[in-house]
Point group: C2
Chain length 340, copies 2
């Protein structure tokens, strides 16, 4: 069994070589003030000579932070892991953490065994905080972590009255403004491909869609609403179904960029002129639809800002464990790129 190799130099040996006490070496390592410059240099030389690397277990134990946070994706379906949405979140969070000394650890939690293992890991103090993404409505992992007193921040929420700190986009508002925009451009048979409806985010987007049509006095027919799961493949299936059941459809609101890509595929295959006949709207920031069809109307989620905000809230919780539960809802941005 591994661990730091035996023979790894310790702080004590560094101290001996530098001819100082352990405390001094510790101060130098941690860039603490109050060390004579010459002493500091001597210690640094010793560190270099010995190739000393601090033992992180000892450091954690001795009472500080773990200097690491986890970014957890709880998703039974590992395929979703490849969705651009996740790489975007990872990047945004990574960027927000770039010039800290905090190590970002990605973790995939698929099964209950994974869940248990991770909770032990986190509660065991290997991370100072946890960021969660893609949480389904019935998932209790966030509570398990938050109840254990771990700083925890979710991307999105599980329900209207989420009890764990979260950052979310204005999903209903985004969907509403998109549909309103479509209506104002003469579309009237507007379908939607939703996300998985066990996720609050998907429900909100659907609600926004409903509200916009209702305000316009348009009755929604059942065939207009098809559930997807955020993946491209589900977008394909959903779009095929919509076309079949409602050939008159002249606009579609897709609840994710990937689904929009799939939908566009099908539309093209069906010989529809896209986006002249049909408008598609994606929600992600990294818009693959940009490449496919550069003239769509999109609702941009501010992923960059979401990542930054999540990290900020987490760090604040870490600094001061007295901070109360909080939530932040960020505005989405309607980007008009359609041909109308």
């Amino acid at each position: 069994m591994g661990r730091q190799r035996p023979g790894t130099p310790t702080l004590e040996e560094v101290a001996a070589l530098a001819g100082v006490g352990r405390g001094t070496v510790s101060r130098v390592i941690n860039n603490a003030a109050g060390v004579k410059d010459s002493t500091r240099r001597a210690v640094q030389r010793a560190i270099a000579e010995l190739g000393y690397v601090p033992n992180l277990a000892a450091r954690s134990l001795a009472g500080r932070r773990a200097d690491a946070v986890a970014l957890v994706m709880t998703e039974p379906d590992w395929r979703k892991f490849g969705e651009p949405f996740f790489s975007e979140v990872v990047r945004a969070v990574g960027d927000a953490l770039a010039d800290t000394k905090v190590q970002l650890l990605l973790t995939l939690v698929r099964t209950d065994a994974d869940r248990r293992r991770f909770v032990e890991y986190a509660r065991g103090g290997r991370v100072d905080g946890v960021l969660l993404m893609s949480v389904h409505a019935e998932d209790t992992l966030p509570d398990m972590l938050a109840d254990a007193g771990l700083p925890t921040v979710m991307l999105g929420r599980r329900s209207a009255d989420e009890s764990v700190t979260y950052v979310d986009a204005d999903n209903a508002g985004g969907a509403r403004s998109a549909v309103t925009h479509l209506l104002s451009h003469g579309r009237s048979v507007i379908a939607t491909i939703t996300g998985p409806l066990d996720m609050y985010v998907a429900r909100c987007r659907l609600r926004g869609y409903r509200e916009a049509l209702k305000r316009a006095g348009i009755g929604i027919r059942p065939a207009w609403v098809v559930e997807g799961d955020f993946t491209e493949e589900s977008g394909r299936r959903a779009m095929a179904e919509i076309i079949e059941r409602e050939p008159e459809v002249d606009a579609v609101l897709a609840a994710s960029d990937s689904m929009a890509v799939g939908a566009l595929d099908v539309l093209r295959a069906a010989g529809r002129r896209v986006p002249e006949d049909v408008a598609v709207i994606g929600f992600d920031d990294f818009l693959r639809t940009q490449h496919t069809s550069p003239r769509l109307t999109t609702v941009r989620q501010p992923l960059e800002e979401i990542g930054r905000t999540m990290v900020r809230l987490l760090l604040e919780q870490m600094e001061d464990s007295a901070v109360a539960w909080r939530h932040v809802i960020l505005r989405t941005e309607l980007v008009l790129r359609d041909s109308a």
Copy 2:
């Protein structure tokens, strides 16, 4: 700063409550043999009552493993992170680790700052071993880790004489057999979309392609070889270039599934009948091309087996740090799904 909340019960308190010594509690926690059943139960009750969770830093420090391994993706271009290839590897490795107590930590290393931070993390003993994927030829991270005595296993290698333990597929052989197959089915103007040529894996696949054509006595024209970077988008660009420079092309070897998908897009847009006119070959296991075009010839990498093997080699190194450097090269499988 965070860490395990103050007030967290310790092993000592559990021992007190259960009316036993610390050693006994430790044994129970670690499922060690030699504890009377009644005692064990008493301890477990105390653990439950107190909500005790072992402090992992203390455990690591006291001389065991960290019970965690890192799966590192060194890739400056974060977009690649979303490639299905990576989610597949993550899944395969995750599966291989599923019923161990080892926590899998994914880490993204993009910048040199990331690299430094991760090396400190790993050398600091927070993980017992490191798995690396997508390593570019000039990357020294594997050496830094291996030289530090950390069990390290790479997926693929950086050059012909790799010095770090690795698991690889028979890339040249796979490419060769694919091209040979195409030749035997009457194709003769065979182009290839390579991976980034600063990666050995891409070079090998290109070499296999070259060898097959050479054996058939066919001279390769410069326009037949276009470099991609494994992404779908690069496949699109490359295919467009090939069609333009060599309209007679009647088969294409794509060095990745994603690039094949992009290439197929372009071929369709160009009005080619796929795969009647053009055959495309992907290398990944999770074949998106399956959905797009179910009748292609593909070279399947045994990703499942690669993941299992990497984990096995890593665990072996962790058990016994005396094990020498090793490498394993796995066979690829030619899957014929073309119409010929």
